[in-house]
């Protein structure tokens, strides 16, 4: 799992941007307006999201239209998958650890 994705989404405004772009691609100005952000900070946030691979740009005339890239979300989904399986399989091996404490099993 690529931690850069989490870093990018950790910033509240960037998470808002992603949630906004989920509804459709938008140019910088619209994003800034809708989220009540200054244009420069919006561009900076979009840069980070771009570097993390979460969004991509499509220049149209003067504007730069930003849209979400699905890949990182699929990666997130796959990561959650491994979590789901382990969870259903009783992933909290607390009982196992209790055995360890009682010397019934070695600690690797």
């Amino acid at each position: 799992m690529n931690g850069q994705i989490f870093s990018a989404l950790a910033e509240p405004n960037r998470l808002d941007i992603i949630d906004l772009l989920l509804k459709g691609a938008l140019p910088v100005g619209d994003i800034a307006k809708k989220l009540d952000l200054n244009q420069p900070q919006t561009s900076k946030h979009l840069r980070v999201l771009c570097d993390a691979g979460l969004v991509e740009v499509q220049p149209i005339a003067n504007r730069r239209i930003y849209k979400i890239r699905p890949e990182p979300f699929h990666e997130l989904d796959r990561w959650l998958d491994s979590y789901r399986r382990l969870w259903e399989d009783r992933m909290d091996r607390l009982d196992d650890y209790l055995n360890v404490l009682q010397g019934k099993k070695p600690l690797n």
Copy 2:
């Protein structure tokens, strides 16, 4: 979507801790050993994960066994859900925006 979850997972060592705990609950010492971290930093990271609701503690004698809490992961899953639907439904409304540019549709 709670951004605190992303903040907590944004730190590489903390993501490692989560991935480790996915395989089973562990006390602080074992986590530190397996990830080659100092004990104090490990405790600090676990504190952050705890505050974010990603893990919980169960004290056993001297040790404090940390295990993953499923709720935040379900929340993440639900968040990804809304993303999935929109994506299948052609969420990149680039065409729509092109119409906007041509003055065929007002910009909300």
